[in-house]
Assembly symmetry: C2
Homo-oligomer: 463 residues x 2
């Protein structure tokens, strides 16, 4: 069987695959720091060369920032299967604080740990290790069969960790070329747990708002004005306290418009995952889910919208005590959005609600900080069920369609700019320490990740 | 008449009095900055010499910090009048920010302004100018009559602007000597307005509390934990929002125990003052009194207790946005107290109330920052009515017994340690810019202040 030969080749070539990943990890492609601009360029060159070795028509494409890499490999002669796009990013997070690393972040090493072998380096998981799982699956397929099972476009970005400033313009300028594939595969997410693979089918959106309330025109002394002068911290506290009701629901009018209920099928899949809520909370010193009372823990972090206070300040907050009655108080508030919640409508409704709570003697300023809707994947597309079965064949536990509390904007851009659906499959683990010192990628994630993509390619190309 | 001769001498010697005050103002006796320790000592020496020139038995008394000055002058032979203690402080506030001063803060100058002549310098009003009004009244009395009208103890402190760390130990160690007088006169308060003198008969107390609420054991990412993890800012906001009810009353249980109603007489005096509430608020950009709905503006700042939020912090409050879900949130909260409110009982009640609002997954720490009860003067003492009539004779408008929103702890210490009542009379104005750049003292405050003390000494010594 074609797939079995590929899987066997993946197993026997694992050492070569690790060597190639380590070569890529040695390039310190920190996108946010201009000092590493040349290294980002080198990482792009390395990927161009590697894809060329697979027979791709590939080029480095300049942008205002770091270059994109776009390559293409045709499927077998006369193939009628789908055309896939694969996305990953070659840039990595900064390494500060360097003193908390056990070794040079750009001198990768395979290490034995109580939980098995890991590849330790900045970018090992996010996202170089993950993107190479797909490249290695293609390499094995090509080596075994002389071609890939279907036509594939590779698209690698070098600015994901610094806000992707060049991404939208690039997608728009190259929409004709990049919108040709049938579906995008994105490898920048995680397993549900070490035994349970996942297709991430819902990503929460994010709306950020900052409110600044002004009362008196200057800071006052509470000895002179305390009692008669309006204190903006009191006003702010009243607003924040009113954003949730006693059951944990968000009170912004219209907030739940477009929030879908889980399908019975998805609810059954999630229940079967056996989420260790106590362990998840216990790791950060908590014991009780703080969201809507009638929701499960997984719903709270994956499929329910939230309102969080990310920061607050006002008056004197240093050491000691000052009896100041401050002129201003401010808070940064964010909303995680799901389903078809409209960030712009919620922003307007939130602002109107806050405005209605501002007393006569105060004013409020609003500062918007981003507004992105949730990404809900087109799970009706046949590739999703094909992938779920392919992943279930590789891992100890069956695969699940899961949610993610965070945001991965790329899927939204593929949909809105290219009209293309995305399927997010990744093999990261919660303890990979991405964005932190001592990042690692489990060898099992890398090895089974490559095998998983071989199975997914097989399943999806057969249709 | 004995008093008239003294008043005339005060008028003719005003230039000399100004020169003496300016000599004292040239000494930069900033008590909080160790660099000025020698200057504080010099200011004490200057006062010792000046009191000696009046014939006082006077000495500089060392403390752990800056010295006290204690002097005594007997009354006329065979006098049966009262023995008075006069208190003032010779230290001054720091001068930062120096660039906002129009001239060297320690190079005093008499300036013409649209509101009349002023003496401009750090300490001109607080408290060197004020304490010299009393010294100059004594000087004129002595010059005219060869003696003072009654026995007087002078007590000058040099640490008032830095929290008076040596005061309580000094009062305790010298209680025998300092408790001999019948009543203390304190000159560190203000006029009601430029035409209306005042005896300050109630000073609010102050209770400071800091609360620190901890939820998760570390800062979390709201993408991963938003919705399921308790956010301590939400808890803190709910507590702060609950501290006042819809009518502006403080909700801490038992808070209003010991809060007296105004007597009809005092209410009539206050109503007669014609307090310009709109002007008072308008100067700081406000228009509406924010205290208890059924109270007048003067009650809110003088005779009603308050709860103010002086500072709040939690999460990320810098530029931009971070979707952090913070581990901790904290607030500094103070209460202004009146009547016989018990600061310790209120602290306990406040802490119990806050504790009852802490959810299962959070903890709270309390940090106390001072607890002083209100000072309510013994207005039944005959000196108060004598002083009120004496002041009324000097100024365009009759004098009133008024309150003060701030705290002057010295009166409380005189009562609790020496068993002595205090009478607070001062001539500062709201626009004196004490503690701020370009501090000044109106020449009219200085001149009429000296004359006022001559009248008060006359009235009180006659009994």
């Amino acid at each position: 069987m074609a797939l079995d030969l590929v899987l066997t080749r993946i197993d026997t070539d694992l050492g070569g695959a690790v060597d190639r990943l380590m070569a890529l990890l040695r390039i310190p492609s920190i996108s946010t720091d201009p000092a590493f601009k040349g290294d980002c360029d080198r990482a792009a060159d390395w990927l161009v060369a590697d894809l060329e070795s697979l027979g791709a028509a590939v080029s480095k494409r300049p942008t205002q920032g770091h270059p994109m890499v776009v390559g293409q490999i045709d499927g077998p002669e006369g193939a009628t299967g789908p055309h896939l796009l694969f996305y990953g990013h070659y840039d990595v997070q900064p390494v500060d604080p360097l003193e908390l690393w056990d070794r040079d972040p750009f001198d990768p090493e395979v290490q034995d740990t109580p939980k098995g072998q890991v590849i330790r380096a900045r970018g090992a998981s996010d996202d170089k290790g993950q993107l190479m799982t797909f490249v290695e699956a293609c390499r094995a397929w090509k080596a075994e069969h002389g071609s890939l099972p279907c036509k594939i476009t590779f698209f690698f970005e070098g600015e994901e960790e610094s806000g992707s400033p060049s991404l939208v313009p690039f997608l728009k300028e190259n929409a004709d070329e990049l919108s040709a594939p049938d579906i995008a595969l994105i490898c920048d997410t995680g397993l549900f747990d070490e035994s349970t693979p996942a297709v991430t089918t819902m990503l929460r959106g994010l709306l950020g708002e900052e409110i600044v309330i002004t009362g008196p025109s200057k800071d006052l002394h509470s000895g002179m004005y305390g009692g008669i002068a309006m204190n903006p911290i009191r006003v702010l506290a009243r607003i924040i306290a009113s954003l949730h009701d006693a059951t944990g629901r968000v009170t912004v009018p219209g907030f739940y418009d477009g929030v879908p209920e889980l399908t019975e099928e998805l609810r059954a899949q999630w229940d079967a995952l056996g989420f260790d809520e106590a362990g998840f909370l216990g790791e950060v010193g908590l014991s009780k889910p703080a969201g809507e009372q009638d929701r499960t823990g997984l719903e709270m972090i994956w499929s329910r919208p939230t309102c969080e206070i990310n920061g607050i300040k006002g008056g004197y907050a240093g050491d000691g005590f000052k009896t100041v009655l401050p002129s201003k108080a401010s808070a940064k508030i964010s909303f995680r959005l799901v389903g078809t919640q409209d960030p712009h409508a919620i922003r307007e409704s939130f602002r109107a609600m806050v405005q209605s709570m501002i007393p006569e003697d105060c004013t409020v300023e609003f500062h918007g900080h981003g507004a992105s809707a949730a990404s809900v994947m087109a799970t009706g597309h046949p590739a999703f069920e094909q992938a779920r079965q392919a992943l279930s064949a590789e891992w100890p536990n069956p695969a699940a369609f899961i949610g993610s509390g965070g945001s991965i904007p790329i899927a939204g851009y593929f949909k809105s700019i290219l009209g293309m659906d995305s399927m997010l499959i990744g093999f990261g683990r919660d303890d990979d320490q991405i964005h932190s010192p001592n990042e690692k990628y489990a060898m099992d994630s890398f090895h089974r990740g490559i095998r998983s993509w071989a199975r997914v390619l097989d399943a999806v190309s057969k249709g």
